[in-house]
Structure formats: structure tokens, C-alpha cells
Symmetry: D2
Subunit: 379 residues, 4 copies
């Protein structure tokens, strides 16, 4: 019943094997090694496009380094108000970007509303030295709500962005889950839809600490390498980062792993929605299930060892909370059935006697009102 | 008909006299001079409170230095979405603050909606290293919409802020107009209402380039002096900044000047609202009049030499634009009567024949949808 | 006997007159005014070259904004180890430059030793992402030791710099004194010798707060205007800055003022060197006289109202201190004769009885060992 | 003959085993895991002191985050002019430190000369807002020249620093080699000698990417965790970083590995110094051998597959170059004997006929004059 986050799972066996094999070798440092070259070739093949690849070890670093490389310090980045770069990176984009600004946009289920992006870019056209020019669009796929953008939706947003001269960034910390979820190709979901540069996430999908910055326009980021070094993100033994990603890419393992995770999330959702006390809050399109339930019952789940993140929902009546459940390559059928059973039991018990829930509390005793508080630190 | 901005007016005669008198003297450098000491005493008297005073030469510097001193680089500043620090300072707060974040809030007529502030501060209580803690509230009085906050409104917002541990900043670039507009005392509008530190603006009210950072809790800003120097805002001949402000403060000249400006704005508004084509967009509580009018007529005003800032309004039907008119200590009765006459005439002409307006344009050929585009660079 | 700094003098009468005349006018804001346009034309004429001119109000801002515009955040600036940007600006270049590095070089009397520059630029050619590429050379004329660079010396250093692809910056806070001191033309001392961009100082030569960034390659600084605004250095009433400089430039007033200052410094030095206890520490080529003298006597000067900066010198024997004396446009013959008389008297007194000096102290009770501590905050 | 750097070696078998074992587990994220807690306990035991431990994945990040946490943005860090933070981190300390300054000091064989530190701290006592206060001392052990500081030498420097209120930082990227080299205890080389916080390096000693920031005064770095997250250095799967270090620490493996490396360096040096053409440039006290040799011979070594870093030395006569040879836990006896044989043969060949060396070149065609160019990117 370990649904707190996919970053709590370990490593794919093939990733371990790759590390183990590389461990007895000498190799070039700082990316001048054959493993990194091979990784670049693999990613180019998967994306059907020439790419520049820059491995780093965290997604926050990857996102922030890209945005800093795309924008001037006085520039703005249009992004969803609940995106990871806004709510969960402690201002890393502002730090790396020398004080750039994240300009937030609304949208249901974690997706930016195109008309909101359009309105933002149509306003503020003065172009003088006083204002903040929007210079990049940042998307996330899977979104922070666990939903997918399909290629058409990405193309629509990137099209608006490009008409106004913006560069486009995709946070793909869970890109594997999005590819599986949409059934579309990596190419269709990225450069063919107008994405300039993306973070291809490995850490949440069975790597130790491995994210690849993938740039579809090779000369787009002339300052990236300086920024990566200066930020302390140029691993001396980068080859060990590259072999992780390469191992997960070979033989479609990344997709197999994501398919496993998405499938378990889907089965979990299917069964949870049949329980009356449980409401589904977002469509289940990847490896996440967002539900609401009575706070009192949620506390029971927790006491019985279920792991997840939750936060109180505002409103009158008996208190309810929002819960995020994340499946990973390592989620088992037992995790799913055990959790469904627990929820079912707790629901019956709760019906039997409200007194038992009078000390209800949730993981986080917060008065949160949005998904932001759930995805929080666990992303 | 010079209503573009109060920063287009010159200097009060007494300010010129003070500069002239100081010019033949030697004096201490970098603020170690008697003029700055006298200024501090004057401000303490006016605000009925001990103060630390730091003169600088621009409002942008004053605001940014304060916020950087109040917040950590990973902190957030709650502020109105159309405030000057958000829309007109090229990201100076982010620059000085090492990448801090402005977290914007809505509110009518330039005033933050208290419930929005409250909701923001109630959410996001997780307090871990991933999120952006809100550390300061920034208010503006006069607001960017030319309206006032009275003492009660400030106290309500500062009260919410303080309950959540925030520090409070007031951008008083047009504080004189707010004091005159509300009829309340400087003390009531600031520290008695919970303001920790403010910018007391002189430049828009008859000084050359003089803003005083006024801190009501003398030890609140231990890093301010370092930041001021490091930002290049420690004037070697600071005494010349201080004498400007002191001259404008003596004998209530700052209030006389603001009363003059507010009065002319009021008279302008009174007469403009009687013209059917003109709509008042914000209450007139200071030295600004915000109206909307047919774009075609506005172009006529402009062609006849009226000076102001405008921007197109969205919507169907004949195009209309938003216009900001700002009075200053130097505005004359002729400015007012001349402009009213021009608007009246243009309205009649426009009625006579719509063809004449077919090439309608405004100062800025923008598709702006908010006051933001009007206050723009001229603030 | 007011020799503490030229920034302690007031304003030239013509500067006051210009401010006074401008005060009754309305004018464009943020540099879109006729006064700034006229200033640009005046400077172009004086330098016999097309120029872009950006007025700001402090020298620290001017220097830092230029260096930040010339260099990348990971770049280095070669400069003298005792230059103002190193010892007296609280790290403003690092702040504006996003963490750039000042790489210091030695040289006698405030002038960079050409062979040291050459050696620096010949080393460190690896050009990888790990090191700090030197991207600009910064010179100062007058130097921090009050000496001049002549055109040939500037050309030699700029020649070395340009051969290695560096841009060149000149801090001309006291450029007027350098022009008078060398007898060479503004053009010969700048662009003809290889200077790309300079700070033309007005504040120390009779203005209130006025420095012009003068760029001899008009498109060299594409980000300067953004940085100026973002740093809070875009004066809304810039026309009042521009009229100060313009008034000081007309009819060669800036040179007349500097000639006055340099002349008084020369006369002061001539007489002081005849006093046995006094040693001249740097050649007197501008408006500064650097001497050493017994600490006990210096204390006497101070007690008798002489104003200057001093700091203890290391060494055995009776304590001696370093003293900087700065003349300005406002220095009088009485200042000079009064001070010489005082020094002469103190020397006799000191000879008469050592007891009188047993509590010797100097302006600053420091154990300073270099000129750095003298020019300190007063520059 | 793989002597380019210890960061080109792979992983210790026990580190691989630990990763492998952890890979099948679920665990807490962002450091809230038992592995990180165990690591802290292990380090506390080894250092005989309570510690706060913050694992990160690169040494550059560790150094920069510490210095940024110890100093204000306008502060200075006293350090050796050839230290890694100065010459090989692309300005990371300045970046993380918001523009702090590295103030460089000379000293033979990579060790700061105590009198130079003392002189620096005795000067510049003015303490006003214009200057750069030195706030931290940074030492490196092993130094960049491969030499050690013993406990007494560290205590002397830290003593000077502390008397002036500085905090002390130790870059221990190769601390294991220093412990073995000096034969002193971890405690004696750090907190007992006055070190406040150190980087305990694992990467160069058999880990994948693992450095521990070890703080001997637990509350010394209140902003460290924020900075680590904001810099993108808070690994979600931190437990995999912690297990690397823990595996290398158990059963003194870190010392065994370092003893292996130091031993091979010593044997290499012993034999090389017997070759007349080879000069030893620094004492061999750790795992590095610094020699000079004729450039023509060095080229021969390189052509025969020896791996190392070199750079031309200035001077007249036949060109010579500086060569750095680094041993690691994975260096073999064959590496040593093969290299010595190669050098011996090349020397004989060179003696036989100078013509054979006419196209002499070295790894880096640079005109470097210091060790800086050798340690370069290979840190």
C-alpha cells in the first residue's frame, strides 16, 4: 500500500546491472565518455530527431537550468499555477534565472487553459524596459494532477506560444507515463507539437538519480553547460548517470515500467470509485489517482499502514480530504487489493459509528484548498 | 493639458531654493550630514514615531531594497496583481531579493481583496523546504488605480498579514495624495495600522529625485545599508537628496502640493463625468482620473495636444479605450478647463460623423485589457 | 582645509542655474526628453565620436551596470587590486553581474602593470566550463592613487586586452582631472586608445548626482537599459540629471573646474614636500596629494579642523600614517595656505616635545597597510 | 597507466552491493529515510562529535552551498589562489553566494601562507558599508597540489580566522587521502583544529556521486536546506546517496581505499624521481604526483596510452611541462610499473636523438604557468 510517490520506489534491475557493470571500468569524466554518447544516440532514436542531451541528477535542476538558459533575468515564464516549478522547487527557476518570474495561469486538471495563455500574451505588448516580457512557456506532462496532455493539446499551447515568440519547455518528470497514457509517440508529444526542450525523467521511473535535458534544437542553449557546471550539476562521473537512463531506455523498459505503473493506477481507480464515500477528483490518465474521502476514514487508512499524501479540503459538513495515490514500476497487485480492501472496510466502519472518527486527522494538518498541498514535497 | 504623469512636472520652488542654498556648502558624504539628520527628525515628527530613514533616489530602488531586506531569497511577497512592483519595475524586487517571488492577489480598484490574502496565507502551510513561504505583504497607497486605502482597510490587511508572521511594506510613491485623499494622519495610515516600513515618495510631489525609506521599527532592516550601497543607491552627496525632502515637508508643503493635485483631479472628474461618452472607471480619491471613452475621440484629444496614457479596451461594438489622467502640484486650471473643453468638443464632433473616426488609434496600439497597460512606464 | 573628498563640495553655480531653469518646465520621463538628447550631442562633440549616453546618478551604479552588461555571470574582470570597484563598492559588480569575478592585478601608483595583465591573459587558456574566462578589462583614470594614465599607457593595456578578446571599461569618476592632468584630449584618452565604454563622472566635479555612461560602440550594451531599470537607476525625471552634466560641459566648465582642483593640489604638494617630516607617496598628477607623516602630527592637524582621510602605516619606529588630500572646484587658496601652515607648525611642535604626541591617533584607528584603507568610503 | 584523475575510476564493490541491496526497497524521500540517519551516526562516530550531515551529489555543490550559507552576499571568503573553488568551479561560490567574493591568498604547495591570511585580516578593518568583510576561511585537504595540511597547520590557520570572527570551511574532496597521508584522526584534522564545516568526499574515493556536508556545530547553517533544495541538490532518492557513503565508511573501507591510492602514488614517485629528466614539483603526501619533464618526452608517454594532465611550463631552454598523476583505489601495480617503464624508455630515446621530439606537444597546448591549468577540469 505504498502510494506516497513513485520516487519512493527503488531501481529497475537492469539499471542496477548497468551500474554494476560500469563500476569496474575507468571512463572519461564530466560527460566525455562513451556512455553519454550512447545515451544521446538512444534518445535521438526514440524521439526520431537530432538532439543535444545533457544528463543531470535532479528534475529541479533540469527544469531550472533550462528556463535560465531560455530566458533573460527580466523575462517571464508562463506556466500552470500548480505546476511543479511553481509549487515544489523552492524557487529554483528564479534562483537559476537570476530573478526571472513565473507567471501563473489557471486550467482544469493541471492543464493550462489555452485562452488564458492567449490572453496573457495578447496583453502586455508594450515592450518597454518597465515590464516583464514573457519569454517561455512551460508545460508538464503528466501534469501535476496526474493527467496527460495529448499531442493536439500540446500543439495548441505551443502554437500560441510560438506566435508570440516564446520558447517552449516541457517538464517530463513523468513523461513515460504520459507516453503510455496517451498512446502517442515521444516525437508527437514533443518537437512535432512545438516543444523546444524537455526534461526526460528517469528518477521516478526506476533510475537512481537521472534526468536528461533533451534539446531538439541543438544550438538553442548556448549557456546551458556553463550554468550546469556553475550550479554544481556537472557530475564528474556522469557516465554513471548516463548508463542508468540508457539501461531504462533499452528494449522499451521505460515504457514497460510506466505501463505497469499506469495499469495499477487504473485498477486502483476502478475499484475505488465503486465505494460511495470516495470521489474521483481528476481523470486517471497516468500513474496517479486523486480522490476525496471523509477525513476520518483517511485517518484509518493511514493507521493501517497505507502510504499516501493527503490534505484537508475546505467546506462545510463532515470534513473531507484530498488524497493522492501514486503507482510506480514497483507497485504490486497486493498494494492495490490491500488498499481497496482497507478503504472498503474503513467506509463500513465509519458508517457504523461516527464517534470512532472524532479525532480525525490527516497526514498533514493543513487547511489546504488545492492540489498544491498534496503534490508538495513528494513530487 | 499635461496629464501624462506627475513625474513630468518639475520641482517645487522651495525645493529648488533648498538645493541652491546647499550648493555653496561643504558637507559630509554618504549620509553623514546634518541635512539627513534633520530630515529624519522631520519625518519622525510627521509620523509621531521614532523612525529610521534611508534616502534613495528612485521609488523602484526603495521598494526593491526594502523587500530584499525583509524577505529571504526563497520567500514570497503578497501583493496586488496590478501593483507597481509587479507591472512596472522590470523585476527589481526579484533582482534585489535574489530571486524572491511576487505572489499576486486580485482586488477591485487596485486594492487587495482581504479574503484573497487570507485564503493565500491559510493555504500552503506545509512549511517544508519545497514551497515558497510568504514573508511580506506589500500595499500601495495611492493604489495603482488612483484610489486610497483608509486606515481601517490597511489595518485589516496588515492584521491578516501579521497573524501569519508577515512583515508589511507600503509603497507610498503617492502617499501625500493618499493622506490628503483620506483625511487621515500619516501615523494612522502607517504604523498604527500595522505598516512596518514604507517608501515616502517625494519625486512625484515636487522633488527632483528623492524617496525616503521610513522604517517604524528601527532595527528591522539590518541589511538595508549594505544592500543600498551594493545596489549603487548610496548617494555620495546624499545631503542634496535630504534637503529636497525636507524642503517639501516643511510648512506642510507636501500636503499643499498634494491637495492642489487632488483638487484638480476632482474638478476634472466632476466635469468629465457629465459628458455622456465618458465613463469613470475608478473612484477619484487622489490625483488620478481613470476614464473610458471612444477610441476615436481619444485620438482627437491627443491630436490637439492633450497628454495622457491610454490603452484599448477589449469588447465588441465601437472601440473604446482606457485613459489615465494624472494631476500634479503643477497642474493649472487651464489644464483642466482646456481638457474638458477638448473632450466636450470631440464628443460633439464624433456624434456628428462617425466616419471621421475610422482610423481610430490610441497612444498605444495595444490590445490591453487592464489598467496595467496604462500605468505602465509612466508611474 | 577641507580635503576629505571632492564629493564633499557642493554644486557649480551653473549646475544650480540649470536645475532651477528646468524646474518650472514639464518634460518627458525616463530619458525621453530633450535635455538628455542635448547631453548626448554635447558628449559626442567633446569626444569627437558617435556615442550612446545613459545617465545615472551614482558612479557605483554606472560601473556595475556596465560590467554586468559586458560580461557573463561566469566571466571575470581584470582590474587593479586597489581600484574602486574592488575596494569601495561593496561588491556591486558581483551583484549586478550575477556573481561575476573581479580578478585583481598589481601595479604601482594605482596603474595596472601591463606585464601582469599579459601574464594573466596568457594563462588560463583552457576555455572549458570549469574556469572563469576573463571578459573585460577595467581601468580607472584618475587612478585610485590620484595618478593619471596617459593615452599611450591606456592604449598599451587596451591593446593587450583586445588581443585576447576582452572588452574595455574605463571608470572616469575623475576623468576631468585626468584630461587636465595629461593635457590630452578626451578622444585620445578613450576610444582612440581602445576604450569601449566609460563612466563620465559629474558628481565629483560640481554636479549633484550625475554620471554618464558613455558607450563608443552604440550597440555594445544591448541589455544595459533593462539592467538600469531593473536596478532602480532609471530616473523618472532624468532630464534633471542630464541638465546637470550639460551645464558642467558647456563652455568647458568641467575642465575649468578640474583645472582649479588640480592646480590647488599641485600647490599643496609643492609646499608640503618642503617639510621634512612629510613624504610624498604618489606622483601628484590630478587633484589628490598622498603623503605620509608622523601619526602624532597628523592628529594635531585633525584637532585643528583639517579634514582628510588617513590610516596607519605598518613599520617599526615612530608611527607614521598615510594621508589623502583631495582638492575640488571649491577648494580655496585659504584651504591650501591654512593647511600648509598647520602642518609646518605641527612639525615644529612635534620636534619640540614628543610627549605631546603620546596619545597619537588618526582619523581611523586602523592597522591598515595599504592605500585601500584611505580611499575607502570617501571615494 | 590511468593517472588522469581519481574521478575516472569506478565504484568500490561494496558501494555497488549497497546500491543493489537498496534498489529493491521502498524508502522515504528527500532524506527522510533510515539510510541517511545511519550515515549521520556513522560520521558522528568517525569524527567523535555530534554532526549535522547533508548529503549531496557533487563537490562543487557542497562547497558552494556551504559558503553561501556561511557568508552574506557582500562577504568575502579567504582561500588559496589555486584552490578548487577558485580555479575549477566556474564561479559556483559566487553564484550560490549571491555574488560573494573569493579573496585569494598565496602559499607554497597549495597551502595558504599563515602570514598572508593574518595580513589580510588585519587590513580592511574599517567595517563600513563600502568594503567587503571577510567572513569565512576556506581550506582544502588534500590541497590542490596534492599535499596535506596536518592538524597543527589547520589549527594555526583556523586560529587566525577565528580571532577575526571568521567561520571555517574545509573542502575535503580528498579528505580520506589526507587522513591517510597525515596519519592523524578525522577529529584532529577538523573540529579539534577549528573547522566548522567540511565536505567529506566520497566520489573520488569509490562512490558514484556522493559528498557529505558535515557540520560540527549543528545549528550553524540554518539556510542550508533551503539552498540545497533551491539549487536542485536535494535528491528525492537521497537514500541511494547515503548508502554509497555508508558502504565506503564501514570497516574503514574509505581509509583502505585511500591507503591504496596513496601507496601507489608514493611508489610511482619513488621510481620517477630516479629518472634524471624528471623533477618532482610538490611533496607527495597523498594520491598525487606532480612532476616536470621535457615536453617532448611527455608527448611520447601520451602517445603510448598514458593518461594524465599536463601543461607547458614557462621558461627558456628546451620546453618542459608540468604533469599531474593521480592514483585511485583502482590503480594497479601494472599502472605504476608500466608508466615508470614508459618514462624511462622515453628518456633514453630522447637522449639518443632530439629530432624525435621536434613536434613536441602536450595534452593541453597551453602556455600555462601554474598548477592551476593542470588540475583544471579534472578535479
Amino acid at each position: 500500500m505504498r502510494f506516497a510517490s513513485d520516487n519512493r520506489a527503488g531501481m529497475l534491475p537492469e539499471v542496477v546491472d548497468a551500474l554494476s557493470a560500469e563500476a569496474t571500468e575507468f571512463g572519461g569524466a564530466y560527460g566525455e565518455d562513451s556512455a553519454t554518447a550512447k545515451l544521446t544516440a538512444l534518445i535521438a532514436e526514440i524521439f526520431e530527431h537530432d538532439v543535444a542531451v545533457y544528463p543531470v541528477m535532479t528534475g529541479t535542476a533540469a527544469n531550472a537550468l533550462i528556463l535560465a538558459s531560455l530566458c533573460e533575468p527580466w523575462g517571464g515564464v508562463a506556466c500552470h499555477e500548480e505546476s511543479h516549478i511553481v509549487v515544489d522547487e523552492c524557487g529554483a527557476p528564479e534562483f537559476y534565472g537570476g530573478g526571472l518570474r513565473l507567471v501563473t495561469l489557471p486550467g482544469e486538471h493541471g492543464r493550462i487553459e489555452p485562452s488564458a495563455l492567449d490572453a496573457l500574451l495578447r496583453s502586455g505588448v508594450r515592450g518597454d524596459v518597465h515590464q516583464t516580457p514573457i519569454q517561455a512557456l512551460s508545460l508538464t506532462n503528466l501534469t501535476e494532477a496526474g493527467t496527460t496532455f495529448d499531442a493536439a493539446a500540446i500543439a495548441e499551447l505551443c502554437g500560441i506560444a510560438r506566435r508570440h515568440g516564446l520558447r517552449t519547455h516541457l517538464d517530463g518528470a513523468r513523461f513515460a507515463n504520459a507516453v503510455v497514457g496517451t498512446g502517442e509517440t515521444p516525437a508527437d508529444l514533443t518537437w512535432r507539437a512545438g516543444v523546444d526542450v524537455m526534461v526526460f525523467g528517469g528518477t521516478k521511473n526506476g533510475c537512481l538519480a537521472a534526468e536528461a535535458v533533451v534539446c531538439f534544437e541543438p544550438d538553442l542553449l548556448p549557456t546551458f553547460e556553463r550554468r550546469r557546471k556553475r550550479g554544481g550539476h556537472l557530475a564528474s562521473k556522469m557516465r554513471f548517470v548516463s548508463v542508468q537512463l540508457a539501461a531504462s531506455l533499452r528494449e522499451d523498459r521505460w515504457l514497460t515500467a510506466a505501463r505497469h505503473a499506469n495499469g495499477h493506477a487504473a485498477r486502483l481507480a476502478e475499484q475505488l470509485v465503486t465505494i460511495p464515500a470516495v470521489d474521483l477528483m481528476h481523470p486517471v490518465e497516468g500513474n496517479q489517482v486523486w480522490i476525496s474521502a471523509p477525513t476520518a476514514e483517511i485517518e484509518v487508512w493511514e493507521r493501517h499502514g497505507a502510504e499516501f499524501y493527503g490534505s484537508p479540503l475546505p467546506g462545510d459538513g463532515p470534513p473531507r480530504s484530498l488524497v493522492r495515490l501514486v503507482a510506480s514500476f514497483a507497485t504490486t497487485d497486493d498494494d492495490v487489493t490491500g488498499f481497496v480492501e482497507l478503504v472498503t472496510t474503513a467506509a463500513s466502519t465509519a458508517d457504523a459509528g461516527p464517534d470512532s472518527t472524532s479525532t480525525a486527522a490527516v497526514n498533514q494538518a493543513a487547511s489546504a484548498t488545492s492540489t498544491q498541498d498534496c503534490t508538495g514535497e513528494k513530487a
